[in-house]
Symmetry: C2
Subunit: 377 residues, 2 copies
């Protein structure tokens, strides 16, 4: 049986009107990459059949990521099927402890328990593990990295030095928020941040996207919606993020934003609160972010800063009422920021409101991980 490589086959092709980014912006590692092209690293993709796993392949291909060999790893259920990548067919192998022999870089996106079971095994064999799960994010000694934000956290880590490591990819909503908030933070120091998210189905995997599509068809036909992934009706509805709620009343998704921001900014004083909501959108998140600064920052300066920020695009046309939307950033690398305005609830120029959209599967997961891998080369 053959699994064609087409990320989230039916769903996003229909619901996204934007074609994949025609010429993805490359990180400035072209020279390093060129020298490795012949003898590039041996890669393993763990969880290759999932939504993020398939996006890993697309991003590797789009960015001409150099590799000597690539292993497609998944659960026993998918093992034995074939997957096509860059005009070659690969057999999907079952993930085992032996999978990492001879591997240099492994991109993990198969859930926290798989990462916990196999991440340390791989690292102990000298593999650079870039892990998309939350398993190790808050561990001391595990860098939590957004390449545009805190590349310094990767200092001293290099593929091919014989020493493995685990590097964590932040949570999608943290990445998307901090891509926009960090350039402003660097200029005026964020004291407090209030975030409300509008999160897409893709964060819960390909099956959640399929359920949203199925439910929508059912509701339009007057049938009761199928609720397998989420217990609530998702079509034409929204609900508090499905992550478990902690004793303090925040759900895990929200506390990720609070804690990961502190670790990534290396600032234990920054105050963050978040309310995370799932909306019936396919693959890109939106976030309404209110910022309180230590130092003044007016909206014109903020726009200028954001326009010059790597990986960020400003969409802020007040006259045309044109601002970022999830659809517009779907399949795009850049995070889009708009609605940049002085917060009228704060005195002077010490506050801003912004609205951010980013592709959850791409910059929120696969792209960020591949960028980390590029920095390790």
């Amino acid at each position: 049986m053959s699994t064609a490589f087409s990320p989230i086959p039916r769903v996003h092709l229909r619901t996204s009107l934007s074609p994949p980014h025609p010429s993805p912006r490359h990180f400035p590692f072209a020279r390093i990459r060129a020298s490795l092209q012949e003898s590039g690293p041996s890669i393993a993709v763990v969880g290759v059949t999932g939504a993020v796993g398939q996006e890993f392949l697309r991003v590797l291909s789009d960015r001409d990521f150099p590799y000597r060999s690539i292993k497609m790893l998944a659960s026993k259920r998918s093992a034995g099927r074939s997957i096509s990548f860059q005009d070659k067919d690969y057999l999907i192998e079952e993930l085992t402890g032996d999978s990492f022999d001879g591997v240099d870089v492994a991109l993990f996106s198969a859930g926290g328990s798989i990462s916990k079971a196999f991440g340390p095994v791989a690292a102990s064999k000298g593999v650079m593990v870039v892990d998309n799960s939350s398993a190790f994010r808050m561990d001391d000694g595990v860098p939590l990295v957004i390449p545009e934000v805190n590349p310094e956290a990767l200092e001293g880590l290099k593929v091919g030095k014989g020493k493995g490591a685990i590097i964590a990819n932040p949570n999608c909503s943290t990445i998307i928020c901090l891509m926009a908030a960090t350039p402003l933070h660097r200029h005026a120091t964020v004291k407090r941040m209030v975030v409300s998210t509008y999160q897409a189905a893709s964060g819960a995997g390909a099956a959640a996207m399929e359920e949203l599509e199925l439910q929508t068809r059912e509701v339009l036909e007057g049938k009761p919606p199928t609720c397998n992934i989420f217990k609530e009706q998702y079509a034409f509805n929204l609900f508090s993020h499905n992550a478990p709620v902690l004793p303090n009343g925040y759900n895990e998704e929200e506390m990720k934003m609070v804690k990961e921001t502190r670790k990534i900014w290396n600032d234990s004083n920054v105050k963050v609160t978040a309310t995370c909501i799932r909306v019936p959108v396919m693959r890109a998140h939106a976030e309404s972010v209110n910022l309180q600064f230590q130092n003044p920052l007016d909206e014109d300066k903020a726009k200028e800063i954001l326009k010059n920020a790597p990986g960020v695009v400003v969409i802020d046309d007040r006259a045309a009422n044109h601002f970022p939307t999830p659809l517009e950033v779907s399949n795009k690398d850049d995070v889009a920021v708009g609605r940049i305005r002085r917060d009228v609830s704060q005195d002077g120029n010490y506050g801003l409101d912004i609205f951010v959209c980013g592709d959850q599967i791409r910059k929120g997961a696969a792209l960020n991980a591949v960028q980390i891998a590029e920095m390790l080369l």
Copy 2:
């Protein structure tokens, strides 16, 4: 030609799994109403064919609103058609200056320009005008009223005293937010409020709801979506509220929240910022509200206060991850509040995060207006 009375015919019946509220909670005016039952006021409904106009009729009926006679008023286009209400057929009449002769109470929901043109005419003829548009909301001398929040603003105004007046219904997002925030404000005094909205199609009228449904069908069939009401794709997408953007970068919808809150709370110091977003939901708004208080208020006390607040229902089951959703409040009178938790970004008990949902057409518009009319009897 007959226009059957079925509010937003196809759409909400399919997308809302909740039946209309079985026994709407009545405001405590039963006795006053009983004495007026025989000689109740003469009512006019202006904009009766619109989404809110049709909901006016449903609410009047659900609440056994007393009336001696009822006039169905609309534009020339709809005039001459018949409408059925409480087992009687009524002819829709064209709205003119003479429409208000002999009328005691007029419920307006036909847009700001109609209100501006005909509201003062009606008031000058002794009519109590309850206006759902934004035309007069911020005018000095025009009460802006949520009956559960600031009934005192109606003092001295009564139907049948021969003196007309205009009373403004606040904007839907303001009503829904303040239904939850006010009881907490009364206890601990809100200093600052950061609101992000998740607004339904219904706020832009029945045609917008139909467009969302049509677009969704089109997108699922792989066709380009029809964009008549909104310039953006709405199906499986979201976008900044379509209200015009003002020079300060806020859109009108957001500034309504800022200004109306100050007027309703009679507190020019309260600081409010809002980001208003349209999401692909049919008829109920959701709002993520971050509150900063002058005085301490812990989350248990906040829950207790909200449980006892009129017109508010608390849905806050952390273990089951069950919180308010737009679907759950659709066609309901009460505003639902959940995700009530101490804000970890603020010291001590001086901050709370809450999530609020309310039916935009019902409590956000028609029900609130009818409640105002009840208070005027």
